[in-house]
Each structure stands twice: as C-alpha cells, then as structure tokens.
Symmetry: D2
Subunit: 374 residues, 4 copies
Amino acid sequence: MTDTIRWGMVGGGLNGFIGEVHRLAARLDGGFALVAGCFSSDAARNRESAGQVGVAPDRVYDDFAQMARSEAERPDGIRAVSIVTPNHLHFPAARAFLEAGIDVICDKPLTTTLEEALELESLAREQGRILAVTYNYTGNAMIRLARSLVAEGALGDLRLVQVEYLQDWLARNIEQEGQKQASWRTDPQQAGRAGCLGDIGVHAYNLAHFVTGLPARRVSADLATFVPGRRVDDNVQVTLDFGNGTRGALWASQVAVGSENALRLRLVGSRASIAWEQEHPNQLRYAEYGEAPRTLSRNGAGFPPSLQRFCRVPAGHPEGYLEAFANLYGEIRRGLLTGQGDFTDVADAVDDMAFIEACLASNDNDNRWQPLMR
Amino acid sequence: MTDTIRWGMVGGGLNGFIGEVHRLAARLDGGFALVAGCFSSDAARNRESAGQVGVAPDRVYDDFAQMARSEAERPDGIRAVSIVTPNHLHFPAARAFLEAGIDVICDKPLTTTLEEALELESLAREQGRILAVTYNYTGNAMIRLARSLVAEGALGDLRLVQVEYLQDWLARNIEQEGQKQASWRTDPQQAGRAGCLGDIGVHAYNLAHFVTGLPARRVSADLATFVPGRRVDDNVQVTLDFGNGTRGALWASQVAVGSENALRLRLVGSRASIAWEQEHPNQLRYAEYGEAPRTLSRNGAGFPPSLQRFCRVPAGHPEGYLEAFANLYGEIRRGLLTGQGDFTDVADAVDDMAFIEACLASNDNDNRWQPLMR
Amino acid sequence: MTDTIRWGMVGGGLNGFIGEVHRLAARLDGGFALVAGCFSSDAARNRESAGQVGVAPDRVYDDFAQMARSEAERPDGIRAVSIVTPNHLHFPAARAFLEAGIDVICDKPLTTTLEEALELESLAREQGRILAVTYNYTGNAMIRLARSLVAEGALGDLRLVQVEYLQDWLARNIEQEGQKQASWRTDPQQAGRAGCLGDIGVHAYNLAHFVTGLPARRVSADLATFVPGRRVDDNVQVTLDFGNGTRGALWASQVAVGSENALRLRLVGSRASIAWEQEHPNQLRYAEYGEAPRTLSRNGAGFPPSLQRFCRVPAGHPEGYLEAFANLYGEIRRGLLTGQGDFTDVADAVDDMAFIEACLASNDNDNRWQPLMR
Amino acid sequence: MTDTIRWGMVGGGLNGFIGEVHRLAARLDGGFALVAGCFSSDAARNRESAGQVGVAPDRVYDDFAQMARSEAERPDGIRAVSIVTPNHLHFPAARAFLEAGIDVICDKPLTTTLEEALELESLAREQGRILAVTYNYTGNAMIRLARSLVAEGALGDLRLVQVEYLQDWLARNIEQEGQKQASWRTDPQQAGRAGCLGDIGVHAYNLAHFVTGLPARRVSADLATFVPGRRVDDNVQVTLDFGNGTRGALWASQVAVGSENALRLRLVGSRASIAWEQEHPNQLRYAEYGEAPRTLSRNGAGFPPSLQRFCRVPAGHPEGYLEAFANLYGEIRRGLLTGQGDFTDVADAVDDMAFIEACLASNDNDNRWQPLMR
C-alpha cells in the first residue's frame, strides 16, 4: 500500500463517461490515489466533481497548466496525471504535464494530428517521462494470451489480420439533439478530422498492432458518412498491408445498427487461427490446421502462469471491460514503479496517428495504397 | 464519501479465494473502508494478511469473539463485518457479531444446519441488525431485470423454473492432494452434510427463489458421489414443486467435466420465457409466445432506468462477476445507510437451509417428495 | 439401383406431417420405391394422396389388413412397409404386416402400452422379420460420433446423462381449435396415456439409450399438465438411474415457450464430456478434463472414416433433420439387404415403452424410484 | 409427377463432388429424372458413373457436343442439362446445349471470362432458353427472407453490405499432392485467372447482389497468394461501392485456418440490420434500431407464408446445404415449367463475371476504385 501512486486527472467531470471509467479502473487496480484534478472548464462543475470523487479543495485547479505547475512544486504533488478530455485538449495538456516532469496517462487517440503526436514523443523522450495511452482493450487477459500465442509462433506465419469494431449509437444524428458524447466526437474542432476512424477505428488498429507486434506498412481506405449533416466519417473500410506477406482488413462503424460495442479480432496464420470478441471477452477461439477448434478461456485449462496477473478471479467467473481497463492501469503502475510496464506507449500511439493520416490520404486519393509515414 | 462504512472481515487470509473477492467487490463499490480483521487462525498469516490489505496492527484480532467485543466498544469501531470463513464458522462468528450489535455480511450458505440458521434469524431480529448473505449472482444486472420481468407479469403464469450450476473442478479427488478449497468443501465437519448441494446447489436454488420470488414447497432429490473416497455429494438432481402450478428442476454438479462455472437459469411462463447464463452475464434471452426470441442486453435497448444503478458502463462493455458482487455490496450498503437495500437477508437464507435439508431427506427416502420445513 | 426396395406406407395422407417426412427421407436415401399404400381412412383422400406420391391405383388399399394380405401375395409385392399413423394404430398395423411376412418400419413410439410392444417383439422374432422404429435423431452423424466416442471409452466412466427435449407448440390449447397434429397427440385414445412423455420424452430417452448403450434401471418422474383442459401431460421431469454409477435427468416439455425443437444431449464421464444440440446438429462439443473444449464437426477434422456413410457433403455444408432421417432409412435398407443395419429395433423400442410405463408409475407414487419392467 | 423433367448432366463422374450434389438436390426436389449424361472424359469412368446413377447405356455420350445433338433429336430427349465440369468447360458445353435448344443449368461461375459470359447471354436470349447458374446459397429459405426484408424496406436505406466466405482447405499446397478438387481450382487453365476470387469470392458477391438487388458499381480489391507455388489467388479483400450511398466489403479466403465453409452476410440499413451465417442457416439475426435484436428462424414465428415453398419441415427441424440446393432446383423447375422461377439467370451471372474482372483490374492498379464493366 506504500506504493500507492498520487494521481491527478484532467477532464472527467460529472456526467462524462470516460473519466469515471478511469477512476473505476484505478480503484479496482487499487494502486492509485486521486488527489488532484481539473475536472471541468466550468468552475462550479469542477468543484462539485472534485467533491464527489474526494479531491480536497486546495488540489482542484481552474486550468491544467496551473495544475501542472503547482503539483510539480508540491512535495506531495502527483506522480502521474490522466488526461480524459476531448481529443483536441490531449496535446496541450500532455505537453504541460510532461514539461512539468509529471508522467502522463492519456486517453486515445493521443492527439488530433500526427505532427502533434511526434512532438509529444520527442518531449516525453527528452523529459524521460512515461506517456501511456489507454487503449484499454489491450488490458484484456485473452488479448494478452493472443499476443503471447502469436509471439511464440503458435499461429505459424501470420497471414491475415481482420479486425472490426462496430457500434450503432451514431446511427442517427444525435449530435444535433445535444448528446454530449456525440457532439464533440463529431466536431472536427474537438475530435480531429477523423470521426469514426479516430474514435474506434484507431482502437481496432491499435489492437491489431498490439497483438501482432506489426504496424501496417500501407493502407487502402474508404471513409463514408452515412448520417446526413454529419461533419466527420461514421464508417471506414480499410485494407491493410503489414509487409512480409501479412495482409488484412479493418472495418469500423458507428452506424452499424444492432451492434453495441462489437470489437472483434481474427488472426490467421499458416498453422493456426485465433478469434476474439470483446463482448464475450473471456473466451478465445483457437483453431489449429487439421484440428477441431478449441475455446480457450481466461484462467482456464492451459492458461499460462505468466499471464496470471491479468486475472482476478477463476475461470468461469467473467471479467469484463473494467477489469481490462484496470489491468492497463496496473501495467502503467508497474511502469511507474519499476519501469517494466507493458502498455501502449507514445511510440505506438504515434503509429496510431500515422495510421489515421494514411487512411485519410488514401480515401482522398481514389482508395490507392498509401504508406504509413513516420 | 462521508458515508463510507467502517468495515471488518473474519476469514479471508492470503491465498484464500472468497475473502479477496469480497474486498475487490467492496473496493469497486467504493463505499467500504476495511479497518479491522481476523483473517486467519494462524497468527503470522493473520498479521501478514492485515498488512497486505492495509489494516492497522491494533485492529487485527486473534479470534473473532474478541474482535466483536473490542470493535463494539471502540467509538470508531466497525459498522459491519463480513464473514468469509469455511461454513462451520459462519454460525459462531455471526452470532458473536450480532450479539455485539454489529451488522453481519455472511458468505453463503448461512450455516451448516437449518437449526443454526433459525437461531441466527431470531438473534438478528432481536438485535435489529442486518444479516445479509452474499448470494453474489443476485447482484447481476440481468438477474435484476429477470426478476423485474417476472414481477411485472411479462412471463404470464410461471410454469417452469429450471436452474443448473455446473463445475468440474472436483471431477477428481483433489482434496486428497491437499487443495485447500477442495479440502474444507468436501469435509462434512467444515462444510456441513451437503457437499455440492451446499456449495453451489444452494446458489442455484437461491437464484431461482430470488428471481421468481417463490420458495419451493417440496423437492424430490437424488444426491450422488462420483469420485471415489469423497465424503460428500458431488452431484445433485432435484425436482422442484413451487406450488400454484409452478414446477421445475435443479441440477448442480462439481464433476461436470468441461464446465467451469456454468450457472444457468431458465424460466418458462404461459406468455414468455427467459434464459440467462452466468458465463455470458450481460445478455438475457427473452422469448414471447409466437414471437422471435430477443437478446436483451445490460444497459441496452429497453433496459429500465430503475435498474440503472446495477450498471457501471454502457451496453456492449461487459460487466462480470466482480461487478455483480460489487452491486450486492452496494445494496447492502444501501441497507446499512437507509434501510432500503435489496439483497438476500436472513429470512431467505433460512429458506435456503430448509431447501438443503429437504433435499437430504428426500434422497434418504427413495427420492420421494419432501416438503421444505420452516 | 437393382437393390431398390419395393415399399409401402400406412398413413401419411396429404396434409399430414410425418408421412411426407418419411417419403422425403426415403427419396434422399435413394433406395426405396413407394409402390403401395393405405394413406388415409378417408377413401377420397387415400386415392388423392396416392396419386400425388405416384402410387398406382391398384396398389391403393382401403385398409391395412387387406394391404398386408394382398401385397404378401403379389410376386412384386412390397418388401417393407412404413407405419406412420397415430400411435394407437401402430400395433394392429404392425401386427398385420408382420403376420404377412412383411418387414415393418414403424414411427415412434412403437405402441401405446408395454404389453403390445412385447407382443410385437415376440411376433417379429417368430416371423424373422425386421421391426424398425424410426427414432430419427439417431441417424444424425454427430450422434453416431457421440456413440462411437462413448463406446471407445473417450469419456472414461460414464457418470451423467442429461437430455432435454423442449418444444412450445402445445403451450396453448390448440387441440381445442382443431389443430390436427395436436388433437390426436393429446387424445389418450389415440396417443396413449403419455402425452409429452410419449411424444418427445421417449425420443429423448431413446437417444440417451442409443448413444450410451445403457437402458435406465429406474426412474423418478414428475408429470405435469399446464394447459387447462388438456387430458395428457405436457411436461415431464425425470431423474434417471442407469445403474453402475451412471445417473442423469430428462426434461421434456411441449409448453417451453421460446423453444422450437430443442433436443439436447449432454454426457459427462470421468475423462471427458460431450454435448449436442439438434437445432445445430453438425457440431458436437467435446471437452476433455484439463483441456480446452473442442467443437467437433460433421465430416470435419478428425471425423472417423467409419462414419463417413452418415455424411453426404463436406464439413461446413450443413446437413439437417431430413439427412438424419434419410441416414436411418439407409441403415434400415442395409438391414433389409444385408442384415447389418444399425437402427433402433424392436428390443430397444420395447425398452422405450418400459421407460414410459415406469415414469407413469413413479408419478403416481409420490415420485419414488420405479424400476423399468421387462 | 407428370411434370417430371427429363434431365441430363455434363461432368459429375464418380468421386467428384458437385455433380453428386446436383443429383441429390434434384432428387430431394423430386421433379427431375436423370436420363442422359456425359459424366467423364474417361470412357470407362463415364460408363461406370452412368450405371451407378441409373442412366441407360444408350444415353451415355463420349462428348457433350454429341450429347447435345443427339438429345435434341430424340422425341424423349432431355429438356434440360446441368453442367458440372471444371470452369473452363462451362462455356463450350453451355454453348453446345443452348445451340441445340436445350435449357442449361450451369454451376458457378458461368465462364472464365466476362467476354464468354456475354456471348452466352446473347445466345440464350436468341435461343429463348433458360441459362440458370447454381448459386446454391440463394436457395436458402433465410436468404429468401433476407431478400424479402430488404425489398419491403424493413432495413430502411441500405448503408452497408458486408460479406465474407472463409474456407481453409487450401491453406496448404494440396494441389501438388494431387488432390483433384484443388488441382483444377488452382490451375488458371481450368479455373480461370481468378482462384479464390472465382471459386468462392464470386459466391459471396452473388449472394450480396441477390439479397440486396444491387450490383456493385465499383470495387477496390487486393488479391493475395499465401501458399508458396500456388498460381492463383487464395485470399481476396474487396471494398465495395454499390452507388446511392451503399458501401461494403467482401473477404473471401481459402487459407482461413479454422473455417470450414463460413459464408456470412451482414446488411446494415438506417432502420435495421440483418446477419446470416451459412453454417447455421436456419437462423437470421434481425436488429431494429433501438430494439433488442431478434433471432428469426426458418418457418418460425412470423415466417411469411409467401416463402413457405422454401421449407420442407417445421421450425426447429434444421434444413441445410442440400435443401437450399434443392430449393434452387425447384425454382429452376418452376422456370422451366411456368416461366416463373426465381434464380440467378444469365444476366446476373454476367454481372458476377464483371465483378471478377473489376477485382483483377483494381488489384493490378494499386487497389484503385475500378468500375464494373458490362
């Protein structure tokens, strides 16, 4: 308990979604103490939010720049901060805390442009600070198992990487009805040029990258906007070339009526394939060539001891979204305390931004193959 | 945060299972502070466990009786205690805390005999204390939805209640290999006369009772012991009569090779049926007569606002075992703070014991119908 | 093609269900030529039915007794007859054809009483004729695989046999609305004393017997009638004892709202378990103790060559109800031509009747264990 | 029975696959009599095959051209012929029979080039003959239901069409081991330039076209060959633009380890979505925006009477691959007898060839959008 990390938060005021998720994840992990925050640009809401989450009044800040400076000066100042604002604020906030020498945990995507991401990468390197990006699905125990199977060659030569992420909450124009989550996510000023692509497409890409260890070399992408009046894409089809004979495809949609949060990853190798669905996250289908497919389960038969730390309860006792998120916080905590954390760091987050920009470029260029820039 | 409940624990030392689960659940709920404990009869392990969970040395006790007395006298003494020992200690520990005027949260089953349970029921009533029993699956949001559908008549006249709970971890004689969880659960001195019946059969029965609101009137039961050398049952088949034209069956097994923790409930009414599986707990199958069946989801389309408090994250973001357990702790907390909690209290826990005893009696009597006594 | 069997039918007039199924199955098998029939007690419908299925007018008979005599005398008379009438006519019709020296294929259950079944068994033995009973689900390729796995010991010692058969077409009193299939099945004069038990419960029992090779030794049964005004049971719960340490349960229901034709078999042994669902009949779940469960598929990886004859198309090309039925006709044809057919014969069909009678007796006797008589 | 169609076959000798499937389908349909054939270029096998399927020796032909001429001259000559050879023979054989005035049933794809397909289209029109192509999955009852739902507007504006067809039987180089089915399918001389694309990709495309009624306007395609030494593609990713705001993607693979015959179609509209999987063909997932998704079943609740003719048995009694194929034969028969058949005719089959050629062109041109030519 002495290793508890003093922790702050930017964004995450009442009635938001992702800030509370970060807090629940940290609480489930058990190694973070939320002691400072700048929860909202609305001063009253900021105070109220702080009160509800137990942050003392003198650690509540009107703006993140002030928070970074003040906390850096306090002897009991925060060790790390989580940034859970709309996308366009990730960059200035992360920069402020990195410059103040405070480790940063940032919600995805890291920034709204590749250029900003590269600048943060340089800054983090200069400052010697962690810049972790919370691609939470990478915290799932079965995703860790999948990555381990790929790494040990169980799949043989990796041939195909298919990933899809389907939601339907933007199937209608709810941003015009004032739905807060929808409003900023479909506003290019706040979300960036990529809509569905930047919100969940990048989740899908990052997951594929995380599990395979392979960044895409080039992409061919078709972005579509189905909902009249929407200013960003709400569906994206991407063909992927990972080089060395590995191909794939990515489909992300926020107009996929009948899908809640259907992130699904399938990998095919020369020896075996695996498939995972986020909505039933405790199972992994594993099929060897010439064998009947098997359903592996979290903490079940054959689950490797090396991945035990990503499990809290036995097989058959389902873990879910928050547990995966908490696992990620656990890894970030390990990174903060020992330097050995296993999570998406700034280098991979930069690659995610390169993916987004390449998709936009291909879409603008008759769907042609477009290399990922770095 | 001012409503945080000062909380103690009996049992739950390191390397145990259910104690850590109670702690995780309480932490996820966020309203309990663990400040006292008697975690193990082994003094060294008791101290070590306390240290790991952050209980101060002066609040660690060598025995639960002393703990009950001391905490009752302290001005900052615990408001409630969780008892997470093997079954045979539930009764004396619960009695000690109830007599000391401390509310009790007890793992299931309440006791090892109906007689003991009835005594605790009287005591809790006399003392005006809560005696909650953690039938954790009743905390699942979809189980709450199921109960709500039954209560509002969506199923019509309830005809059939089928429940099964299948595990395979006792398919071999691991108690002779020193597996701690197996050892006490298969020892009649610690677990009581009922083995599988008392460990998970009663979970299944309680769940059926909770969702339907109906206790069984009579049972016809066949208990079997498949594993050579085992001293308690490891499989039970029960035919159920709930009266008023509602029948059913229960199957619980701990030798069901290929099943991890497969608790499944199906209800059939004259108008509709529902089905739920604990291993995929965010869905509920709902089929109206003459209609295509629907898959309802936690927090999904049509999920009632009145049950929102059992959800932490949106539809498609799976919640699991710990979230359900945390929901139960949340209800117990509401009970402690407002008297309005919705959980299995001592009266229903007594009925669970009556169920166990009736099954044992039927099995001893040629499978004949046996009424539940109270 | 020279081995085509000259074949007749009793029952199976237009607008019936099972007669047409027998004809489709025989046609898919390809080894039967329908040349004679007594399709209906209504003379006009009898002629019309014959015309539609291509039976020549001189081979259409007003009653089955006359058909048996005439066909036995013709040099080109039928080799075998299928009896697809309501249950109460199975006995007299089967007797007539057996006495005439004609092999009999009878729909299930064989008769309406055990006594009749025993008489047919004697008669078939005296006459040296085949008396096959079309428990069609036993023709499914995966059921054959399941039986083969049990026989070769893949499951280890067989511990549990759980079978259920759920339908909902009798959830309301459609027999009073003149639905023909419902009318005779709920009329004790035509169906026998057992309703759901005799219609589908016996299917479930037979399937368990077929796959395990074990008849039940004793049963404890609860029959219920949920639909007001119905004269036979529409739901049955049976606890099963197969002797030698094998137990089980059977649930059959025709009021299970939301179930179409959900026959499901689960076997648990000391080494492995298997599970099969008729509505997805091309798969079989196979779980070895300590291994991740596998999904075996018809004609898929590891499917044994010895069972190839039960498959028409490759893995992934689903076969269904008619294919299973046709497989059974193929086995009966093999029996007729070579004496080597593998199907439910009269001895097992007698056991099915003993099961029905034991269930009725246990239900009449406070659910007590009741041995199967022979 | 008087309407039975005299029918011939080109290809389909012993040990082949698809010829026997056509014969089983026709037999299950019940309206075709196989009376002539040219089953193999090997004279001995041709005779032997004819004998096994019951074709008289004087109706067995050494080559299809002779067969077409002779049968056209006979008063009892065949009304229709099925061509079930490797792809490269479809064109000359179909031409021969069309020229002889005989209706043609051809396996897919129609030809190996768009040019040939267009020539056959002209010829069929001139001759006034049917040229049906057996895209068998379009015969499935639930596919018919899907098409009907789209047509009646249940999905609203159609936005997305996702189709995939995954197999793994070509995951290794079995063509070099002499596997007959693999050999011709991977030989550009026999199969055409498209490998996986022409074998199953076109099935997937045709299915999407059939259900939506929409041909693709343009495609962006990536063809890959994963297995060393293979001369044709074995995996294809296609992005689809159907015009009028409908987009989609198609993935076909014959190296998808762990997939048997996984054809899956998903359609998303502004009001609802549907999803169908060929390996579980009796169900269709239907999800309306804002409603819990439903599982529709063949012949189940709400199944439209107008589609009854595509069902042989009740809901819950699975139909499969052969039943769908037989339905298609039934529709072709209706076409032959009444002119009202509902099946893929030559016009749509020409569009399928245009799809193949556009994919090849896009793949050769940096994945750029490529319009379908006609």
